[in-house]
Symmetry: C2
Subunit: 214 residues, 2 copies
């Protein structure tokens, strides 16, 4: 993700110089934060990996977003319209930087970092939105095959190579695309048979790209 300013350096400065900032480490599968309460908190993933999760009434798990190093999250970035609780779960051991959103312009005089962040907020929002747009588009595909192909193309585009490893396990992918895992596996098998994709372990390759491309 292109960032207009040096995000890593910015985070370091924030930690070193801002009294309102705190960092915390999380073990795999721990809850980093929830989106139910108006926490007015911005979270930045310094290391590790995390998922934004919702459980449906039926008990199904949906993966709404995946966060990598440098991604900003928190309910500040996801205005809710239902009261269904969302969780951010550490997928791997992670370190997270927390800072309050509502105090962004009322920190002490020497702390210019909050103001800097304020200026970057529209861009951070847009980064979130881009990811959400992707998932929405995937969910809007009619068939499992179309969902998979659209997803594979997005990974291919991001990695810049026609062979790529999925950033998610197949189990997680099914929860991200909101499809039945076994039905998805069946479709993957069919696509292998029909020579549309190749699969060796975790590495996929798209062979026939007819339309859709780009």
């Amino acid at each position: 993700m292109k960032r207009i300013f040096d995000f890593n350096r910015f985070c370091e400065n924030l930690q070193a110089h801002c009294a309102l900032t705190s960092t915390k480490k999380f073990k795999k599968d721990e809850v980093i934060t929830t989106y139910l309460l108006k926490r007015n908190q911005i979270c930045i993933l310094l290391s590790g990996e995390a998922f934004l999760i919702r459980y449906t009434d039926g008990g199904q798990r949906h993966i709404l977003c995946t966060f990598k190093k440098g991604d900003a999250f928190g309910e500040t970035f996801y205005r809710l319209h239902t009261s269904k609780e969302l969780f951010v779960l550490a997928k791997k051991d992670s370190e997270v930087l927390f800072l309050p959103y509502d105090k962004l312009d009322s920190c002490n005089k020497e702390c210019t970092y909050h103001l800097q962040l304020l200026r970057e907020l529209p861009d951070l929002f847009l980064n979130r939105m881009t990811e959400m747009n992707l998932r929405t588009e995937l969910l809007a595909c009619h068939t499992i095959r179309e969902k998979l192909l659209a997803y594979f193309f997005s990974v291919k585009k991001e990695k810049g190579s026609s062979s790529f490893e999925l950033p998610l396990s197949l189990t997680d992918l099914a929860d991200y695309l909101v499809i039945d895992r076994s039905a998805m596996m069946r479709e993957i098998s069919k696509m292998k048979q029909e020579n549309i994709i190749m699969k060796k372990g975790k590495t996929f390759k798209i062979i026939h790209q007819n339309e859709m491309e780009k």
Copy 2:
């Protein structure tokens, strides 16, 4: 939608005092703008109604967003990840205010309105995001029935009454939820038979709300 400041008044001031601002009227079914090019343009709907539309490769029409008076849109608010073109179509005769995003802080000294807008941008983004989150959640429902019920609840919540008129035609609703219209009609018939909903013309009412509620 709650706005922190008086949006209507703000638009009036902008039109009256800012040289970079322009307004234009559109007839029903005219294209207001497209999201393909980097227009760096912010659009505000002053009157009327508009849809954000995408056509799939298969020729299907998807309604991605619906805009009402006061809503802000433009590719600035929808960072794309594909090169698929999006259209904003006037659903009714409409009037739209246009202003350039990238010149927000470089207008003449007397024009304080751009700066004001800049401060409001995160909030405007979040309003957009809330609507997109709603649709994503609807698309994530497994069955047509669940999609419909979730949608009905969102309308009910917005209108504050258990009886409500849909803001979309049923044909448009199917394109918004990305489901086959005839299958949707069949499901609505079933739900009427099973006494889950009532329907008189365009007015719906939810009878059994078991879970899901709120």
